[in-house]
């Protein structure tokens, strides 16, 4: 059993995560997931790699709270949130959100809400390496 909320350098398997999510209830009829990946192009520039820095202890607290909030708000049976840190290349996985519910609408709405909230609440920073050098990403308001 891996934890339902994690920050880690290594990649993850969606099959493994979904298997663990399903394990929590046979009532689960719908699972929505969001997978964020590294694009090789951003704001008009080529991106060769992306590095993530995190305030690990606070980020984990916030991600756990976000998971609990989503379970309560959408009546989920279970949810998982994983964010990678360190350096990734084009096409690599960055963040994975999964929400399992009895019915599909709650699962998909919760999934969308969690990734939107994660971007607002979780202390993680992203640096892109382009031909012009490195730069920290400034999120749009």
């Amino acid at each position: 059993m891996s934890k339902a909320v994690r920050i880690q350098a290594e990649d993850f398997s969606q099959d493994d995560e979904i298997k663990e999510l399903k394990g929590s209830s046979k009532r689960m009829g719908g699972i929505g997931t969001f997978l964020g990946c590294a694009r090789d192009f951003s704001e008009g520039r080529d991106v060769s790699e992306i590095s993530f820095d995190a305030y690990g202890s606070m980020a984990l607290l916030e991600m756990n709270k976000l998971r609990s909030d989503a379970i309560a708000k959408f009546g989920l049976l279970d949810a998982r949130i994983i964010h990678r840190i360190g350096t990734v290349n084009g096409g690599d996985n960055i963040v994975f959100i999964a929400a399992g519910a009895e019915h599909r609408v709650a699962a998909m709405e919760a999934c969308r809400w969690m990734i939107d909230e994660l971007k607002q609440r979780v202390p993680i920073w992203k640096k892109e390496t382009t031909p012009e050098g490195e730069s920290w990403v400034v999120p749009h308001p």
């Binding site: 202890s57 606070m58 202390p123």
Partner: protein
Amino acid sequence: MIKVLFFGPIADRMQMRETQLEFTRGMTMQDAIAHFSVQHPSAFSIVAFIAVNQTQIHDKQMVLHDNDEIAFMAKYAGG
């Protein structure tokens, strides 16, 4: 002592990830901000969030306690 943390773009501008601030009775978050922002105006110009013991705070008049862990953070860019 108060543990002070910097991450991402602010760590780069501070040229450090962690430092300490001597604790004095009655000191507030505003005192801590004043201490660092004078020496590091570029880093502090992008501070968007402040946390005390892993919890975001909004009141800069908040009184600090010995052994608190504080963090000055730029806008988040996860996901």
